[in-house]
Amino acid sequence: MKKRTFSTVGQVTRRKDGISKVTGREVYSSDVSLPNMLYARVLRSPYPHAKIVSIDLTEAEKMGAICITPADVPKIRYNERQVSIPEKTYRDRTVLPEKTRHVGEGIAAVAARTEALAEKMLQKITVKYERLKAVFDPFEAMKPGASQLYKDVILGDVVLPITRNIACNREVSEGDIEKGFKEADLVIENEFRTGRAYHHQMETKAVVCRPEPDGGITIWSTMQSIHNARQLLGRIFNISLSKINVHRVPIGGTFGSSIQMNSPVAICVALALKARTPVKLVLTREEDMYDHCKYPSIIKLKHGIKRDGTITAGEMKVFVDIGAHNIQAYPLLGCMAGWFVSLYRMPHMRFEGTSVYTNKAPACAMQGFGNPQVSFAVESQIDIIAEELGIDPIEMRLKNYVGLGETFWGQGPTVRSVIRSCGVEEMLIKGKELIGWDKRVKPEEKTGRFRLGIGVGRSFHTSGTGAPVPGEVMDYSTAMVKFNEDGSVDCLTALMCHGGGTLEAIAKIVAEEIGVPLTKVEISPADTRSTGYDVCTHATRGVYCGGASAQRAANEAKRKLLKFASRILEVNPEVLKIRPDEESDQGIIFLEGAKGKSITVGEVARIAQIKGWGTAISVESHRQVNCPPCFVTNLIEVEVDTETGQIKPVRAVAAVDAGTVINPDLAAGQLEGGLCRGIGLALLEDTEYNPETGELTCGANLTDYKIYTSADMPLVDDIHTFFASTYEPSGPMGAKGVGEAAINCTAGTVANAIYNAIGVRFKEAPITPEKVLAKLGEKTKKH
């Protein structure tokens, strides 16, 4: 499709929320303060697995504490994430549990006038536990006779017995896998592992709840979907949805940690309803780290390949240690199958996924949702295969990637569509030049203490979860656009911005669609009572799906406005156009080639109001019927110190095929951020547990949970980001997503670069200096 030219989209502009953010004036959930507000604290389990026998509140209540225990909360079992259709939603948790399944699980809560007082009251609560044997290893957990976390859970509305701690399984196959392996000249099998990284979002989870006189509640909280919180709270507390109002509040980063309505929200609501006054609950960093982590992976990967590099078959077996709750393991496994199938063509394939409960912090989606894990394995494996066959790694990828016109599995087996825009080749070829791929030499030709190595990796993410046939995942957005009498435009949507500029992009799309300057479009504050449903800002869907609904609303509102204008100008509305006008600093409606037949947007809106024609306004709900892949490519150079095992990324090329790029500087920032966290996943980040106590060995604090910062990245001049020049026909203004794609191939790329530097293949991330030295030691011993 021919690329369009734009006046606002694709321009570098000043962010609308920039000033409030850099001056500290932005109000986040933890800044919300209401009259007569109490502060809550949660009593958390010191044990990984224990039955709660009794909770004695006498002393705390003597101090004036408002307390809740499992006895005070609704018994309803819920799943905090409301994205899958109900039949595919596994519900295993309650507001407060009768049995604790991981250290740090909340078991009671208090509210008091100050946080310090609440903290003191907590210490006056006595809990009697009956300790149960805990399991921390997924394979141990699946053994017969292992301690069981659950007897049963609810799937949809059906009671589902749980055996061997298996939360759910998923099998997907196409073709005849045995035939595929028989056709192969070579079969390569490897096992890969990735860690349980912590989201490390800047703002810890926070919530303020105000009970209303009419029996309703109002919520301000860190969340990626206000509507899902409303639905869940309505069900849990049996409150009419029209009496629940959840506000969208700017959030200090998420990385996926607030796709679900997090555990503090329901606890805070229960406290506020009991206290009959507003209650605020802000998690400490320690609590936050015990609340969630990334899904770890153990991936057994088997490929059948012909001598010429054609893949004949692929088999992936995945084990995921999900921790104490099943938030979205079922869709995760489906997506992991989808990521696997959609990376490289395999005529015959099989996927088998198993998710297992253990007594650890529950895992949930984190940037990439299983894709960084799958891509770490597959991209490492592709390099292993290429070396075995003597084929250049980039050639191997170009030969086998799933691209234009081919079926894309997107978010799993039920979400299939055809790829209509693809920049894979462009990014690999340009990236190859930028990094100086042709000068790359084999590891055995390298000498000296410090060795440089270059690696390549590629992947993609889906833009949303839409598909021609509605599947297991809900996906649509709603937006309202209206014209004001001064020519400005309001856009209202329940979409969320996690910091990457999603709402900025929405404003640009609306401005472009209508033809007004960006300064004339503002994104209205949103809450659940005044907005239509939006599934969630997750799955890299903000711009592609949310943007598409805003574009439709803008188009429809514009159509109404032009109808009003046609009455004033006495021309057919179909021939009228709008363009940004510098002189009036707003949109001007004009008839091409006809002088005098023009009027400003504001004037039309004003006349329409005076004459009683109405407001040019439109509300549109829209579901995308595709979820096009936003492809991503990394080429990274690392320097390995063979004597200390330290690995330093020294140069990087990061490219994305996001279709039309709406916010170029912010998209480049996403690529850099993804690079930073991806390198962290490869080299640094993981959470380990003490098998005796079930506690995090890092103490759940940032002193000992480290992430990389700009100080650890290549110098700015040595990071090269670029965008493929593509146009997605189904996207708003030709756009696809960026967000999660940015991280997906980085860890695999780093592993490949390390191999190129020192000739050692690491299959388990994080690849720490300690592991590097140990492996290098083994290597020297062998020689």
Partner: protein, 297 residues
């Protein structure tokens, strides 16, 4: 640690902000081990929030101007214990002689921490990984401890007694760090291995040496995070003193240092890794100092 709340200071304590050392000493005499002296608080507040310590009296010494100074006089560089790290960095950047201390100071936290933390605080916390300790040890530094009964000066290596343990009595306060003046020909360096850019070390090392041509005239080595206390390395350095230095001699020194240290496995690294990299770090730091020393032609 899940029960602690690191956002607030839950424990109640009596808080003092004296203006003179004399007032501090009076308070210490009164409250002894129930009191804690707080300077920048970058270590102490973390320990208080984590409820590792719960002092009932907290004495802030940051208002005492006589405890914050850097003076070079009579053969000594004297630094007040409450001098902030960013001031130490600035001083060392101008006076280029104390290179190891400069490098250690720059590696301590990042700007925010260096604007709060003090040199005395870094030593009095007595962390085996204290960044300043190896650098100060190789310069033969000593510290002045003051109590109402008087002053005493002890060598820094005698100050550290164990993890978070020092030679200070409950009624004493560190008032000053004293570093002997350095000959122009001395070369020194400090390096550490960390998990990320701004971090406490997995292992750290400082070397200060003097050269006469290719001969090593003197050599002091100290390491951090390899034993319960930051320690001087007393044997490995003897290998090079008085000898013509070459790669094989340094290699001998590398082997020796691994025998001298006693590292542990903790959250930051393993004993094995520390033992292996101690030798490498020593080599790197030694050569850096060697090339900086005046003997280089």
């Amino acid at each position: 640690m899940i029960t602690v709340n690191t956002r607030i200071l839950k424990a109640e304590f009596e808080y003092f902000t004296p203006n003179t050392i004399k007032e501090v000493l009076h308070l210490l005499d009164q409250y002894g081990s129930d009191a804690n002296v707080i300077a920048g608080g970058t270590d102490l507040l973390v320990r208080m929030k984590n409820e590792v310590i719960s002092p009932s009296h907290l004495i802030n010494i940051m208002k005492i101007s006589e405890m914050s100074f850097i003076k070079a006089e009579e053969g000594w560089l004297r630094i007040g214990a409450a001098t902030k790290w960013h001031e130490v960095v600035e001083f060392c950047a101008k006076d280029r002689k104390y290179t190891a201390l400069y490098e250690a100071s720059c590696s301590l936290g990042k700007v925010q921490v260096r604007n709060m933390a003090t040199i005395g605080g870094n030593l009095c916390t007595a962390s085996p990984a204290a960044d300043s300790a190896p650098a100060l040890l190789v310069f033969n530094s000593r510290v002045k401890l003051t109590s109402a009964q008087g002053e005493r000066i002890i060598n820094l290596e005698d100050f550290f007694k164990g993890v978070n343990l020092t030679a200070m009595a409950p009624n004493e306060i560190m008032t000053e760090i004293q570093i002997p003046s350095i000959n122009n020909g001395m070369g020194s360096a400090f390096m550490k291995i960390t998990r990320v850019g701004a971090d406490i070390s997995k292992i750290s090392c400082a070397v200060a040496l003097e050269r006469q041509g290719d001969i090593c005239a003197s050599c002091k080595i100290a390491m951090g995070a390899v034993a319960p206390v930051p320690m001087k390395i007393d044997q490995a350095n003897k290998i090079v003193i008085g000898k013509k230095v070459d790669a094989s001699l340094v290699e001998e020194m590398e082997k020796k240092v691994s025998e001298e240290i006693n590292p542990i496995t903790d959250i930051r690294s393993t004993a094995e890794y520390r033992r292996k990299t101690a030798a490498i770090l020593l080599k790197d730091v030694f050569w850096k100092a060697w090339h900086r020393a005046g003997g280089d032609k």
